[in-house]
Assembly symmetry: D2
Homo-oligomer: 270 residues x 4
């Protein structure tokens, strides 16, 4: 047992409370469950974690090593449903009133080429985060879906061809923590992809490439169109309590990017 003096436990006299203190950029192996359609699916991921609590003005510091202990003692496999207990544990170990955590990791799903039906894994960047304070518990899930967008203006004003490019649709949902999370990763991704000119695929044979090329030409979309289409599918979605959608196009005619974003809450029915 440590008998060395606990400097962090001393009193502080500056009368300044701290909103967030903790550790960030912690690399940690996790087994994730509860985000795919198949409820039994788990995946070993490599996460980057940020953890923090608040600190009252009277105390000099938090105990950084206990933050790591909270990480090590998390239930595994870890599902979004476990975040509240991890936050509770963080708060208790640090004698805090608020706690926040976020995990970012790549998660692989198998994608099937549209014509040849070749299957290959595709990585999706996921963010899973939560906060706990006296007003309650909040949980957020973020997914980056890479897509193809083809410019409607370029198509319409040109005799042939149309510029197109890789784009990224970032969808961040705040879930209703009082209910089980029923919006699975596949559902978010399929919705995002259906709003772009075409999905991307890890493997495409020539028949697939032909399909994707014409699919995109048949579905031109500005960043404005994509963000609106995504939101059109979320604005009556009562399984989430808020959403934030950002579409970024890595323009193939410019060195800079174009983007559009909408932050809102689902409409209440009438």
């Amino acid at each position: 047992m440590d008998r060395i003096e606990d400097i962090q436990g001393r009193k502080d006299h500056r009368q300044i409370a701290i909103n967030r203190v903790g550790i960030c950029d912690v690399q940690i192996p996790l087994t994730i469950s509860g985000i795919e359609k198949d409820p039994a699916a788990t995946q070993a991921v490599h996460a980057k974690a940020d953890l923090s609590v608040d600190l009252v003005s009277e105390n000099k510091g938090i105990h950084m090593s206990r933050m790591i202990e909270s990480l090590l003692d998390m239930p595994q496999p870890l599902s979004p449903a476990h975040l509240s207990e991890v936050l509770e544990d963080l708060r208790e170990r640090q004698d805090a009133t608020r706690a926040e955590l976020s995990f970012h990791f790549d998660y692989f799903l198998t994608r099937i080429a549209p014509v040849s039906k070749r299957a290959a894994p595709q990585a999706y960047r996921i963010g899973l985060s939560g906060s706990l304070d006296p007003e309650g518990f909040r949980i957020f899930q973020q997914v980056d879906v890479l897509v193809k967008t083809l410019c409607p203006c370029s198509k319409e004003i040109s005799d042939y061809g149309a510029h197109n490019q890789r784009g990224c649709i970032r969808i961040r949902l705040e879930h209703d923590h009082s209910k089980p999370i029923t919006i699975c990763l596949e559902e978010i991704i399929e919705h995002a992809e259906s709003c772009a000119s075409s999905p991307l695929f890890p493997i495409l044979k020539r028949s697939d490439e032909r399909h994707v090329t014409m699919l995109a030409y048949d579905n031109p979309r500005f960043v404005e169109d994509v963000v609106r289409e995504v939101v059109a599918g979320l604005k009556n979605e009562h399984r989430c309590v808020a959403y934030d959608v950002r579409v970024t196009n890595f323009e193939s005619i410019h060195a800079h990017n174009a983007f559009a974003s909408i932050t809102d809450t689902p409409e209440t029915g009438a």
Copy 2:
């Protein structure tokens, strides 16, 4: 003159307004003025710009090329005092109600070694951003100040030595746009450095290195101490209307980082 049809100008029927649409990661050369103590000082910088406006539900898209025109037509040298007119221009060209912009760039100041007095340039990462909407104009200035922090716990519990590391103090101030900005870069940086264990320097001779080593050992600081010290100097600072301070330590005993942050507004006098 373009007689090609204006697709972006068409009507949209999805009844979804867009919060932000624009361009990001635009690289642009700027001449910056008005941020140093010397009001006549200017510096050629290489900025990364993000610009956006809102879009009413009735319109299909914005005119991306006009965003670049707003950038090209900015007054040069550009000072923070010019941001409101740039935002006004953005809003007008796109017929929008809101506009936002941010510039990030490195700005060099000469730093003098503490004993040898050798001078050399040090880069500071600066963020300059603003927004304009029907509620008014807001302006923000952010500075990243790299410093040295030495761990008070490590010092106290060890017979000799103490772990120390590079850290970053990010100070973001919202200025009171109704008054001239009088908080200069040097003042923010000096305040930040005085809150750490020691400043960093671009060039140090042996006599300087001795000075910095002992200065840091004499001034141990946790991330919690640094963020509180910075805020102690800001909480009665009525030249700003809000502040956000984040301290990150690139811990020399761990592969992960420690951080602490406080977001607040200056206290009103009584």
Copy 3:
């Protein structure tokens, strides 16, 4: 079956052969074996892969989708001993004379705190790469080991204290492909850490922090010292045929870094 014309298979008349053509930044889940001391150990990792072959001047292009097929058909778990067959497969599918591949991923090992004996996972960035050409097969393994370095000059010239910081030791070994690889990850990491002022640990209680602080103060090392110590342990190491060592210090007294590197082959005995 594809009956669409094979454009890549056409002839090219520019008489210019291509050294490397392929795919890069491919994200792929792998199960890795054969790099830990325990020969039965495997780990699910998330790799970034680069693959290429050469292309004779007569052919217009390679078949990019077959590169992905080579990845998908790799033996799993994948050990360094399998790289030659993967390279052989790449070369055959593309009718090439040379093939190169590299995988980069984080691999977790459990680290035990020096006094409290608390265990926690630590990520190590690993590079595994190989090439195959008419002169033969080559295989390389790279490990980034984060460490603490304490400056000997700062210690000696100061009355107390010494600046120290996080550093990175990158060791890249070319293995002798004709023999089984017997240099395990733990051996490389332990050697690297023994050459620095102190290892880093994912979790440290106060008793550990005291230990690490004094260990570093007792073992001051310049980047020059660290790179020499690492090479002193490799220069008679006949299990590798070449080594490249680069040490980078994220200086805690400067905003820039210091580095030292040595590239050499083990000395032949006499």
Copy 4:
């Protein structure tokens, strides 16, 4: 004057010489001349510098602060023709036999839209590096040119449309140091762009976008085509002594990238 003991100047007994020791990631403001067509053109840039020398086995360390002094004492404006004297200075101050340096910075050139003739600055990432050792002086210049590439296969196999994307052509030339450098930046960039499906532009009005869209559709290029076209223009270029060309396509149908590279020396005439 420093009378503190010079630890770095002590003797080392490990009998291990060091290939490179120095500083890296040094941020420094420079005025660059001598790379544009107009010989009088200069530009203030923000460079990242890496500097190193070799170290004989007998000496414990180099003098890091003298590396910064070499940077501070460089001639300004700095042209590629000055690199040899900077390297000479580095070598002398450290009593070394070899010296290396590299600068990376963004450099702006004005680009004119093809139809509307609107002008705007475009950033090009430049690398300028050199080495000096007993065998002589070498100088390298690298330019990243962002372009548009349109896939020939996608165009040919589809009834309409063709996938296209942003790509990057990196050209690295080793100049003949015995002659004045006459290959200007504009010449390298124009050559690179002529080898792609279309250049990129910072500002495009609708008439320009129509032009660029059709230009790209009329000039489909694989990465293999682009790298060959670039090399076709370099292989008889006797103003350089070696070249390295790498083309990367940020594929709009995949989340991964495609690349092709050629490293060679110009052919000797007959």
